[in-house]
Point group: C2
Chain length 148, copies 2
């Protein structure tokens, strides 16, 4: 037996496996997205993105930030000379821009639904990485229809 049950709430095995696989993929890029987004913001806002500032804003020790930045460089998303600040490649800048758009969209969606700004910012920082293109379009429509 053990196979019968009551046709429960479980999705099909391949479908569920696919979903969890997509979550793993998204998780793998989530941190990189946050880094390039932050670097872009620092460049725009302060003219440079220093390791110390990146580390402080991410809330991690500086060697942790250094390692992640090396990973960005290996993946062709960032560049830097020793003891100089960090810059984004074309690809990095594109990723940052997409991340920024999605970030602000999710914040706006949450605020439109009535979530307080501070909470919206906090929750968006996690949620933003798991939104598909389809959902992104739906969100855009919704915040357009409602708030301005």
């Amino acid at each position: 037996m053990t196979k019968a049950g009551r046709a429960g709430t479980l999705p099909s095995e391949p479908a569920q496996a696919r979903r969890f696989g997509r979550v793993r993929d998204a998780q793998a890029t989530a941190l990189l997205e946050d880094y390039v987004e932050l670097i872009a913001d620092l460049l725009a806002d302060a003219g440079e993105a220093r390791l110390v500032d990146i580390a402080r804003r991410m809330g991690v020790a500086h060697p942790t930030a250094a390692k992640t930045i090396n990973r960005l460089k290996r993946q062709g998303l960032a560049m830097s000379e020793p003891y100089r600040g960090v810059f984004l490649t074309e690809a990095g800048a594109r990723m940052a821009e997409r991340a920024r758009v999605r970030h602000r969209l999710v914040v706006r969606l949450l605020e439109t639904l009535g979530v307080p700004s501070e909470v919206a910012e906090a929750d968006a920082e996690g949620m933003e990485h798991y939104i598909s293109d389809v959902t992104e379009r739906v969100f855009t429509q919704f915040v357009g229809r409602k708030g301005v």
Copy 2:
């Protein structure tokens, strides 16, 4: 200089660090939540939760699932005897229930906004772990007002 800029889009340093810290915390428990939720579903649906089935549904190799289940046991969320299926402790069952509620809520919210069911299920699998209590309440209100 380098400090001036144009009072840009950046949040305060401590606020931003706090947010990223919360994201890291949520990420750390995300996988555990998915496992206990799946185990609960398998128990309800098939009467037992076997390692093979868990691994297949998670889309990972069985040693990967075995390691995660050991972690669940270490954290007092699951129990199992060698070569028998996996069960949840009180704490594990509670976590599963909360995960299940949030999962379905996020799916319903997305569907209510007009996201197709299949996409809603996929996106919810990632988003669900980053929703604060406040946002959860807002979502509940919203789907209550709208849907049904």
